[in-house]
Amino acid sequence: MNPRKRVKKLRRLSELEDLINKEKEKREKETRPIISISSGTCGRARGSEKLTEAFKKAIRQENLQDKIILKSTGCHGFCEAEPNVIIYPEGIFYQKLAPKNAQEIIQRTILKGEIIDSFLYVDPTNGQKAIREGEISFYRKQRRIVLGANPLIDPLDIYDYFSIGGYSSLLKTLSSLSPEEVIETIKKSGLRGRGGAGFPTGKKWEFARAQKSELKYIICNADEGDPGAYMDRSLLEGNPHRVIEGMIIGAYAIGASEGYIYVRDEYPLAVANVSIALEQARKLGLLGENILGTGFNFDLHIAKGAGAFVCGEETALIASIEGRVGEPRQRPPYPAVKGLWGKPTVINNVETWGNVPIILEKGADWFASIGTNGSKGTKIFSLVGKINNTGLVEVPMGITLREIIFDIGGGIPQSRKFKAVQTGGPSGGCLPEKLIDLPIDYESLTQAGSIMGSGGMIVMDDRTCMVDVARYFLNFLRDESCGKCLSCREGTQRLWEIVTEITKGKGTMDHLALLEELAMAVKDASLCGLGQTAPNPVLSTLRYFRDEYEAHIKYKKCPALVCKDIISSPCHYICPIDQEASTYIALIAQGRFEEAYNVILKDNPLPSVCSRVCHHPCESVCRAGEGGEPIAIRALKRFVIDWAREHNIQPNIPSTEKSRERVAIIGAGPAGLTAGYYLSLRGFQVTIFDSLPQPGGWLIKGIPKHRLPRELLQRDIDNIIKTGIEIRTNATLGRDFSLADLFNQGFKAIFLATGAHRSIKLGIPGEEAEGVIQATELLKKINFGEKVELRGKIAIIGGGNAAIDAARVAIRNENCQKVIILYRRTINEMPAFKEEIESALEEGVEIQFLTAPKRIIVKEGKVIGLECLRMKLGEPDSSGRRRPIPIEGSEFIVDVNMVIPAIGERPDISYLQNVDRIQVTKEETIVVDRESFMTNLPGVFAGGDVVTGPATVVEAMAAGKKAAKTIEEYVSTGKIKMEYKLKRPSIWVEQVKLSEDELEKARRPKLTKISMKLRKSSFKEVEQGLSENQAILEAKRCLRCDLETEEAKMAMRREK
């Protein structure tokens, strides 16, 4: 509003009517373009003020001062897109702007009418650009009856509010409706309190109206203390007059002469904008005495909160306005009967007041037509957390969670899995994935164990720990409790203590029972809403995520990798064979390489193998990788192994007396070798049988030499044999001997670790022709140096590691002209290791995505071509990946001379044919107990790929390592007792830190590869190792998460 304008107080209703009409007409006739800049608190935090300044400058430069209207408005709602502008009248939406973009917008869009592509919103699911607000997926399903006005008006200008028809409802009310009629309208509309409890607003007003009192008050509750909820702030900042208008109408209906807007002090901009709005309203005579000549007196003041969540509760809020501590009191008497200073008081939430003018304008029936039976109208939700489109969402009641999270919210960032959504703030609960189709309204949320609350909606993914979430809310509540009731004050404190113990891995199952018992007592015994709903986060997470609590308690695991005292360092935590990566990295940083070597050997009998081919799950959870690059852990391990080899450091293999029972292991692959190693160290007499002429399993049969040099494999195997194991090669179970034979020979336990080496057939015509070789067969022949016919153009079907291995092996063959991999999905779904795919492409392998074979074209018994179909991706299947759907009529032919199926492998368990009762699956894997690895036959254990299907080297090793323990227990005691411990480093090593500057510049080192010529012509190892300097620098980059636990801190203090 132009401060120089002389404001004339409106003294009659007709004067207001004229003013509104005048402003409306002005707006309708406006031809100049309007640039509306989203400038709420978070817009400003993103630089909207600088953007506004830049626009002003650009406008001045082009001399367009009176030709363009620049408006700094309240929040437009799409916070993810801030800073954003909307250009009217077209409604063009430009997002994520920087101040320097202002000039371009003025010059191109305003002056020339051009749309600037780079500023448009792009839909992440289909790549489409949207020009107008209504085209953006975020806005499409919304119904912004309350927030929709924000982009249209300058909140500091009451005349702008008039121009969109503002205060027409007040006019209508004072001109033609009695207070009772107003209350009837609100009752009929079905409006329910938007602050959380959902009490019918009309009813509340009716109670208050019925009270006989000279003085009555109305209050707007803008305390909005729920963390994650900020819709009230947005409404007060962006459209304060809407709320004021609603309150004046309400005061009239109830008979109140004074009102308060209680705003929390953490909202300085809202306080400022509301103050200015009140001043303007007062100056124009919309507040004060004898409003518009009707004899109705009403004035509105601001009361500021002072930082207490409990003051969102009605009676505590009243106490705060009265200048006292925010302690709730008992109800009855309800505030509508006896409230502020003992007088009848109506307290409503900001959003509730904001709905009043629209209901009066468009009618109760219109409002009641939106929403569900029990919950009418819209609700504003703040959609935050792990969500792509963060922002304020206004939707009709009854919309489902799925629509909000996926259609409007755009799903979870980084394609992570949706886990839960917290609604209702600290008084609410977490709703799990299985409730995703729940229609949102007051009743359905309460039934599901949560509440609507003020509308905060916090989305969580698989990296959010629900136990940690419960702990977070309890911490919040024990601090915010007013402290009067023993049940709430002491109860929340004790609930917090117990949940904290659970997050530290010190929880017991008794704790869970105690949590529930205490939670019920706190709920029942507390005086006010805070205490009564305080247990909700705990109760709802226990209800839907009990298994997560049990994982923390029974297995000492935090599946979301959050609870620090359980996780210690994520690399150590996630390693299937418990390698202490953080410890050996710490030793490398200190130059103590030999000690690092021993730490590796302690848990890993195949260290050279792992240093080359492990799929490093540790790196995928490395904390340095969050917003940066993970530590090159496998490369560091390799450095230590190579260093030890170069310096002739021999592993210290204890030779123990083999005084215990005999154990037979079938399969000398990673699982079998590892099990054998640990059993042998424990004194068992181990014999490993393998059908191949050499031990190694898939390591020697399947993995190509350019990835795993055979000298290294042999070195590891030799060290394992040195512990005193007997390996019998060329011995096939089922053909040369049976399980019964083994038991008869005196073996007390058998470990089946025969892997999964049988390629799955494609099942298409022509597969029997000459020129079709299964990938596993091809790899075996090449790895064992047998003759194999490779010629011309080779098509490999599949997207896993076997396919890539086969491709890279084929392209090294001089007779091979071209190698194409055909995969039926896209690169995002391809299961092979990303580094392997990259190397294959470097070596000239071609990959065609979304392609599947239909039939092999055979001529005279030989392969001459492959008929293929193009695919497209549909809905996800049971694996969670999008299902490939053939596109009708898209057949095409590829000229090939050979076809290599590599679509997956299965175990070959024909040796179990005569073992009737053993349990197997239809995928031909052996069924075992998850923790003991025992099959349903006593004494017969199994592990590795023969149980899981094709997996990874280290997972097979882990099975072998764990099975060795359970086999030992079974043989010694006949019983298997599982014990779970927290993972901790075996020694505490001081951290060697990088300086601030070094940290800024340090980057994850890239491993060098041998020349392309050498790569394509031999099976020499492709990747090279790190130098000593590189290794030490990278090791220093490690954040040393293992030093973050309480134990670590105590240990380091002691050592100082």
Partner: protein, 237 residues
């Protein structure tokens, strides 16, 4: 007169009576701690809870603050009430395990374990001392400070208060620190021993040896008897 139904009994209350006053008038026992006839009501200890209403609308309220209402249905000892009461006592024990008053309540209502970490604060924030100082002694030297788990009772700025006249009213009225348990299992969180003291102090002395009457002598009898016989005289429940 206000008519309401308590434990199935139709009772009549005067205008302005609370449920607690009504119950006491009719001889129905409801335990209290922070309630005192001579002081204003507070409703903080949550011991005097009763269940009002029926079915899904039934809820628990403190009887010391809730006014008698026409037609109200009240139950003083339902499952919900007892469970809540027991938990309140358990919570109190965990912060003031040495209080005889609270130990007695534990025995009476069957609280036999404390599953929380003991804090030994000797204060359950019932506010009796605050109200005593303000209302009976007109001192206003102490009051509540902070909120939530940090709440405490103290003088302004934790300094010697000018308003304090050393009358001792706060110590007199405090249920936690006044009767300190000196029984044979005094170190444990809950002992319940004093209910079954055998022999009692009256077997040795001519009058009751309680803290209030004669500072430092409570439990003396048992200690002396034990020292005499060299065997444990009291049995634990």
């Amino acid at each position: 007169m206000i008519r309401l139904i308590m434990n199935g009994l139709e009772v009549q209350a005067e205008e302005g009576w609370t449920l607690l006053q009504t119950a006491r008038f009719y001889g129905l026992e409801i335990p209290t701690l922070c309630y005192h006839e001579g002081l204003s009501v507070f409703g903080g200890c949550r011991l005097c809870l009763v269940e009002i209403g029926e079915g899904s609308k039934a809820r628990l309220v403190t009887s010391c603050t809730y006014p008698a209402e026409e037609g109200l249905i009240v139950h003083t000892d339902t499952k919900r009430v007892i469970a809540a009461r027991r938990m309140m006592i358990e919570l109190m024990l965990s912060v003031a395990p040495n209080s005889k008053t609270i130990q007695d309540l534990a025995s009476k209502f069957g609280v036999t374990q404390v599953r929380f970490k003991i804090r030994n604060e000797e204060c359950i924030l019932c506010g009796l001392c605050v109200r005593m100082c303000a209302e009976q002694m007109d001192g206003r030297a102490i009051g509540f400070q902070n909120r939530g788990y940090r709440r405490k009772i103290s003088t302004p700025f934790d300094l010697r208060s000018e308003e304090c006249r050393l009358c001792g009213g706060c110590i007199y009225i405090c249920p936690a620190c006044q009767l300190r348990c000196q029984g044979p299992e005094a170190e444990t969180a809950v002992c319940n021993a004093c209910l079954t003291l055998d022999p009692t102090c009256l077997d040795y002395y001519n009058e009751l040896q309680c803290w209030m009457y004669d500072a430092g002598r409570c439990g003396t009898c048992v200690r002396e008897a034990r020292e005499k016989k060299n065997t444990s005289a009291a049995s634990k429940l």
